[in-house]
Symmetry: C2
Subunit: 679 residues, 2 copies
């Protein structure tokens, strides 16, 4: 077909691109793809359930282009569409009687492209967690029935990480039995909460409680912000959108200024603390359930990272199998698939392997969380610090890995990966948010590091440790590198020992440096600050070891066919080796391995690229991501990349007319200013 014809039609060939078809025809994994899909979905029933939800959603034009249409729309329309989608989604939930889990699948299917997520993800759970039974009876029904729409407003312009620094205040007025809410300084203005700007009419406001001039800590106040009739901001409330972000622009993250806003005493959510009519304050201290909510969100982020990488790997691998450029063999007439270049594999496969790794890691972490949560519910808090450390750390490490690897694989798509229509830029931007939200990464690493320093001190003092830090009791003298031949580099159990020893040495080094500085006369806090960089390194080393163990053990529990086992094991080995080579300095420096081992590992690494290569397309097909979910012109199942790129230009506002108005307004007067004669 000629180029002109294709563009006129905006037509996509009905057949799968032969480049992609040949990949599927040649991969021995192809017949087993559905087996992997079932693993990823958590069972064949779940796969069917997800596909059913996809069918429901994508028969509706409102959702069909959800992943990509926003790049062509001004913010204003983007938001309006996000609201429309929210409402439709809520209605579908009711119509099909979706469980919360099914609703979560629907959100994943539409790639989070809706505006009112905070209502279900934060507002309702917070109401459940923080309200008395009486309050629940009053408010939960309204929220679940969407008669009120709410969000959770904690972060302020000046404070995110340090919650103790929040400045919003709620002063009790016993004469009227009301709280008076104020954001008294510029830095106290609420800033960032999702859906706050234009959408919600209620918010749970975190504020410092003041009674008779005395501070009583932070508490949640359910506060009406807009009229439920005409949606106008209520008196004393100034609210708006904080402006565009790197992505998530369907969501109206907002600011909120409160100027003597009065709410009834009953609107303080009083599960954990009460204020009586007379202004008497009593507290049970914060509920452990609050912590566990935070932990669960972080565990969820690890999974989200896996989802982002699955999406993007689907795009980058398929495109790399379609794109041909230059030749590997100069005697060949045909250009080579870029996926056949070792360097391309080295940019694309780490993302693919990490997508699988984080899937398995998040599964294990979720199970561990559920186990610990059950213990906590029975009053056993023994494992709370451990799960807190694990979830915080894994969130940080996963998000960091995802941003880095995803960007490299985006770059591997060259210029076309720079187009918004590739959807890769947006994926990177989403991942970047995960570095900061729900605990800034470095802050989390340092929480892990502090935990490790405590555990290490306990180990040194002879305490027997359990859980992820058990190994800190080891006798390092007894370590000898277990990798004794190139073949050992394929043995993940042996490599885990290497990871463990590296972590031990990094942690003990950090402890030694701290001790040295303190013994040298530095104050504790100064010694701490002077070693933060090493402490973060130690935390990362520990977390990477934990990740390896969880990944390996989760894989071990699978009941799978031989071809699937082989393919997934290739990814496991590659991931394990890749992360040693990537952190080679640490491994050598800690003498966890020696120079010959490093040489073998690098050879194993590139060997594994070649092993993964034939199954690469099958391994992304197995994620079974709907084309409308990833939304990329480069990554569709049919591989008709170039035709889709051409078609996508029809969505560009600039192309809605042949001659843009700016020609008449600006360009023409200038071009013809000196000369009115024809050329």
């Amino acid at each position: 077909m000629s180029a002109a014809a294709i563009l006129d039609l905006g037509k996509i060939p009905s057949k799968v691109n032969p480049e992609l078809q040949s990949e599927r025809d040649c991969s021995s994994l192809t017949p087993y793809i559905s087996e992997i899909t079932a693993i990823v979905d958590g069972g064949r029933n779940n796969t069917e359930k997800r596909r059913q939800i996809e069918r429901i959603l994508f028969k509706d034009p409102l959702f069909r282009d959800c992943a990509i249409d926003s790049v062509y729309k001004p913010r204003d329309e983007m938001y309006a569409r996000g609201v429309e989608r929210s409402v439709r989604l809520f209605a579908l939930k009711e119509e099909y009687n979706w469980t919360d889990e099914e609703f979560g699948i629907a959100v994943y299917v539409i790639n989070h492209q809706y505006s009112l997520g905070l209502h279900t993800v934060m507002f309702i759970p917070a109401l459940e967690r923080l309200s008395t039974e009486q309050q629940k009876a009053k408010w939960l029904h309204l929220a679940r029935n969407y008669q009120i729409i709410g969000t959770y407003a904690q972060t302020e312009l000046g404070h995110g990480t340090n919650l103790q620094g929040l400045e919003t205040i709620a002063t009790y007025d016993a004469t009227t039995e009301e709280f008076i809410l104020n954001t008294p300084t510029v830095t106290s203005i609420k800033w960032w909460p999702g859906a706050l700007g234009k959408s919600v009419n209620y918010a749970i406001i975190l504020a410092t409680l003041i009674i008779d001039g005395k501070k009583h800590g932070m508490h949640p106040f359910l506060t009406p912000l807009r009229s439920t009739e005409d949606h106008k901001p209520l008196p004393g409330v100034k609210v708006g959108d904080i402006g565009p972000k790197l992505t998530f622009n369907t969501v109206d993250n907002g600011y909120l200024i409160l100027n003597n806003v009065r709410i009834p005493r009953e609107n303080m959510l009083m599960k954990n603390a009460q204020v009586s009519r007379e202004g008497h304050f009593t507290s049970r201290g914060p509920s452990k359930a609050n912590y566990s909510a935070m932990i669960l969100v972080r565990v969820t982020i690890v999974n989200w990272c896996s989802v982002i990488l699955s999406n993007s790997s689907t795009i980058t691998v398929r495109y790399s199998a379609v794109r041909r450029q230059s030749t590997l063999d100069s005697s060949s007439e045909k250009e080579s698939k870029i996926l056949d270049y070792q360097t391309q594999q080295y940019k694309v496969f780490p993302s693919l392997a990490t997508a699988y790794a984080l899937f398995f890691v998040s599964k294990t972490l979720k199970n561990r969380y559920l186990k610990t949560y059950a213990e906590i519910m029975k009053g056993n808090f023994k494992n709370l610090p451990e799960i807190h450390c694990q979830s915080a750390g894994m969130k940080a490490l996963s998000a960091e890995m995802t941003v880095e690897l995803l960007e490299i694989s985006r770059q591997a798509c060259g210029g076309h990966g720079y187009l918004a229509a590739s959807a890769l830029g947006d994926a990177v931007a989403s991942a970047k948010a995960l570095v900061t939200v729900e605990g800034e990464n470095t802050v989390l690493y340092l929480q892990v590091a502090r935990y490790l320093m405590k555990r290490f001190a306990a180990a040194v003092s002879g305490e027997r440790l359990s859980g992820s830090t058990e190994y800190l009791c080891m006798d390092p003298i007894k370590y000898s590198c277990p990798i004794n031949s190139p073949g050992d580099c394929m043995n993940v159990s042996l490599l885990c020992q290497v990871y463990r020893f590296r972590a031990y040495r990094m942690i003990s080094k950090a402890a030694r440096m701290l001790q040295r500085d303190i013994e040298g006369g530095k104050k504790q806090h100064k010694a701490m600050n002077d070693n933060l960089v090493q402490l973060v390194r130690a935390a990362r080393a520990h977390l990477l070891y934990c990740m390896m163990v969880d990944y390996k053990e989760s894989m071990n529990q699978l009941q799978i066919s031989v071809p699937v086992s082989k393919a997934l094991n290739n990814l496991l080995v590659f991931f394990t080796v890749f992360n040693i080579v990537k952190n080679a300095g640490d491994f050598l420096e800690t003498e966890s391995i020696g120079l010959p081992q490093m040489e073998w590992l690098k050879e194993t690494e590139v060997k594994m690229l070649a092993e993964i290569r034939p199954d690469a397309v099958s391994l992304v097909d197995a994620f079974d991501i709907h084309d409308n979910t990833h939304g990329s012109v480069l990554g569709c199942y049919d591989g008709n990349v170039y035709e889709r790129m051409l078609k996508s230009t029809q969505n560009e506002p600039l192309n809605q007319c042949d001659v843009h108005y700016s020609f008449h307004q600006h360009l023409k007067p200038f071009l013809q200013r000196n000369n009115t004669s024809k050329l």
Copy 2:
């Protein structure tokens, strides 16, 4: 001032934020800032010239918000504004009689926020380079006088890197003395050229010349695309915008479909090859001047990377000096400046140091280019391969470093660094483009690697080398690590030896691996592909060594005061040490250093953070970047971060009314569907 009052006024305090003022008061470098500014500008006269241009531009409202206003505008308006700015900029150039260099400064001052850059950056230079004298006489005047607006159209949907694969054809028709241009396949459609979509009326089209069915290689054809009267596409021309990109959305990168478009024979630009009336083809082969144009662009990109990092460091350092969060010392009442955290310094200072490093490196590279260019003009091509390799490699390494470090420093600004108004996301997106344009990074690394393999083979065969690869003649047996004490880690000359040896060993290893594979029976191309990852590593190692040497030597040539020398030297040492620690695995693996040295280097690294800390704000002030140029709410000279953030919300379209129309359209009907009673 209360929060409510400030927002209502959208008022920015007239005083510098005391947090930033105290930094300036305390830095001993403050009195010497103008000395550094002069270095960066290339002399005090140039500083004055730049400021003069800033005054001219920023008294015009059209340019005042140029760096940031596009984030609030739909694509359509963004583009229109870019056209308007282009026209105004061209008019100012004429009005003030700016030289090309001064025009370049103006473009830098408005942060490239205009649409028609390709006309001056590519179209006119290409006309100059590729035209005969007769053609120049005809076309150059029209182009320089903006009577025609043009671009350079080379890249196609299916081909960027591999120019040999381009598919557009120009068939000579001797009967009419015309060329017939066609894009015969989907993949041949021109795709990416800047300003092609909506703006230009002419393009230099790269196409394969065909005469009587015989191909004669690629040549440039000056082709009218749109009517100079009404701007409508000419017959056979289908042209449009390719859709939004990660940034640069004021530019209408375009696609172009040519369907039997006829142009006169005289429109083939015939400096390097001619087609006579009768269709007789003669060629002088491509001009060396073509290569040198490509080299110059790459050299410019190294400088551009420095500019991007200067901009972003200005933002991240100032914000880090204003932002307080948590406390380092729990006994302190006041929260700590985040710039005082070692981890923050470790995220922000590498960008700052690299901004300076790349400034000096690009200066040296530019001088080397000019010297080689002068030689070439005299017919001496001896140093062409060397400068080709250097410029290609430095472009790749600089762009790679910039994307990576910039993103880390963006993350260091937490949530606020995720706001479009921070301007950091856009800076990262700009840097990402530089990885791909003007030679994809990996392709360039491999060009360098192939050059190195040749030079290494020459060295092994006893040839005496000169230039950057001279060291390949070394006898590795004679190397012993020159770092013999912690103090040696401050000695950049010694560290350069370490870099050199690492490069040598990485290169010799790659050569050995290739040789082994070929001797093992692999074909050349297979052996090559199986070692691409190591070849890229070797190229990087070589380039990093070259960068260190150029940086050090460029610094040595400065005539500067002691305080400036000390401050810049701190950055040099930090940069040198940082890049060893970052690549620790390589340095240890090649035995360029041992374990004790690595320990010392890591200690030096964090020590240097503390050395740089007091002067950090001065070091970014010295870039003297106008607030309107970086356009960030976080990075202004006055440090009134939070007030500017608040004010920026006034630009957000969603905030133009209290109640968004989507409430009435979508939300209200849903909220009230079950219940019409008031809450």
